[in-house]
Amino acid sequence: MLSCSALTLAAPGRVLARGLDFTVRPGEVWAVLGANGSGKTTLIHALGGLAPEHAGTVALDGAPLSSLGAHARAARVGILLQQEDAVFWGSVLDYVLLGRFPHASAWLGWQGPDEEAARAALAAVGLAEYAARVYSTLSGGERQRARVAQLLAQDPQVLLLDEPLQHLDLRHQVAVLELVGALASARGRCVLMVLHDALWPARFCSHALLLHAGGVVEHGTAREMLTRERLERLYSCPLQEIESKGARFFAPV
């Protein structure tokens, strides 16, 4: 269970959001929506303990995140970063194995179970045959899937995903969302992800958090939050709501 209270998000020279209070419970999948520069990535970093000092507290099962060491935190909170400036020379399997760092002994290196976890994670994103490939030769979408696999190998209780669908084709967008949804529903993981596409949240997320301009934040169940009026205000863009086979979608008019 990940909760934050009185959390303030700030970028150099401006406050993005003030006094954030919410709790992500096991099994819930939260969508974080907002316009460019509204503080979505800052929120992910703050929740993951990567941002420097910020006002307010983030707590994991009631214990402040800052009271955990980096290693212990990484065993329980995993982050898929939006950007990664890796200069990685190794194979795809090596890359995914690094996700096991919080669980493995630094002295012994990777053991059998680590490699099993890494290979299972690669299989889950459809990259099983790419294990031996050099990571830097992957395409953008394949790299994104390898990064998701690294997070799966890390196997945290809380998954914070910053634009998990970037570079992915439609089929893999759905696959990643279903994978993440299954982790929440079947294994009780807490998921919070930044999404850019108004197409997906209503279908895959139980909750939504909207970062409006001017520091106004709304959150609640997906059904409450994902309405045409709210999203139009959020994106300053006229939308139409499409209902088909019981699912709702939003698209620009």
Binding site: G48, R73, L81, G90, D94, F101, P102, G109
Partner: protein, 325 residues
């Protein structure tokens, strides 16, 4: 046998062969039988003295120096996350060269010259640390740029020193600029640094792998990135200073040996670092043996040979594979 283990075995053999060759070849003819006799049953005499007083210290210095340069290069390529980083990007060799040359111009003896070289190296490091590391937020690109800028400035001062130096002093000065093991002192300190720093680096090798993913990702996976980067900076600096004090600035080894190991398919730092140390040490020992013997009795600066031999080998390796640097 897995590939890294096979490479490790062959590099160990290469290291032994390079050291054996360094004891065997030279201006004074010694046969392999004489050398083996001298190793197994040391009998005092001329042969014994040539092997153990002249050649062995120099071979030990060459191996330690090559190993240190390869280690420092590998560590800096991770710290600065730049494949072009080499041990001299921190300005250490330029600082040492300037200190030593100024001492020579001032007419100082060998001991003062070494002290001046050490002072110059430490002064350069202090500037890089103060500007690149301490200033506000930590930034590896700032360290890199500070080192490059400082090296350029120091190189200009080195040129100035060369211009004002007396004609007779020039030859000895080239030692600091090209790298030469002919004047190498006792290699014991360099060996201690190599074993301690190398051992610590191998013990923390997984964290180095993690660091190649970028600061933020490494932190999100639980690495204490800032202490790690500081330790890397210190380790690379100590290794470089030890190598530079022994043999001046020998180019190419620190830049290319880690890449050569990567091109052989080893990327885990736990295996890459030991392999780079062995390869760097063997390579410099072989190059130094050649430098002593090819144009004997004239001795060539080994830095010239490392480049002449190393560049074609490296170009071959780069061309052979779709190299991922």
């Amino acid at each position: 046998m897995s590939r890294p283990v096979a490479l490790f075995a062959s590099f160990c053999a290469l290291a032994a062969a390079s050291l054996f060759g360094a004891l065997l070849f030279g201006a004074f003819p010694i046969s392999a039988t004489q050398l083996l006799d001298s190793i197994v049953f040391p009998i005092p005499g001329l042969v014994h003295d040539v092997i153990w007083q002249l050649r062995a210290p120099r071979a030990a210095a060459a191996f330690a120096c090559g190993g240190l340069l390869a280690l420092a290069g590998a560590l800096l390529q991770v710290l600065l996350r730049n494949p072009l980083a080499d041990p001299y990007v921190l300005g250490i060799s330029s600082g040492a060269a300037l200190g030593a040359l100024m001492a020579v111009v001032a007419g100082a003896g060998a001991a003062v010259m070494n002290a001046a070289a050490l002072a110059g190296a430490l002064a350069a490091l202090a500037v890089v640390f103060a500007v690149g590391v301490r200033a506000g937020d930590w930034n590896v690109y700032r360290i890199l740029l500070t080192g490059v800028v400082l090296s350029a400035g120091l190189a200009a001062l080195v040129s100035l020193t060369l211009v004002v130096a007396a004609q007779g002093q020039l030859r000895g000065m080239l030692f600091w600029l090209m790298g030469d093991l002919a004047y190498a002192g006792n290699p014991l300190a360099a060996w201690i640094v190599l074993i301690v720093v190398g051992g610590l680096a191998v013990a923390h090798a997984v964290k180095l792998d993690l660091l190649t993913l970028g600061d933020l990702k490494a932190r999100s996976l639980g690495a204490a990135v800032k202490p790690l980067q500081l330790a890397l900076f210190a380790a690379a600096a100590i290794a470089t200073v030890a190598a530079v004090l022994l043999a001046g600035s020998i180019g190419f080894v620190g830049l290319m040996v880690p890449h050569a190991v990567r091109l052989m398919g080893v990327t885990h730092h736990r295996m890459l670092l030991p392999l780079a140390i062995l390869l760097g040490g063997s390579f410099l020992t072989l190059a130094d043996t050649a430098a002593r013997t090819v144009l004997a009795p004239q001795q060539l600066p080994v830095g010239v040979l490392t480049a002449i031999v190393g560049v074609p080998v490296m170009l071959f390796l780069l061309g052979r594979k779709r190299a991922q640097l």
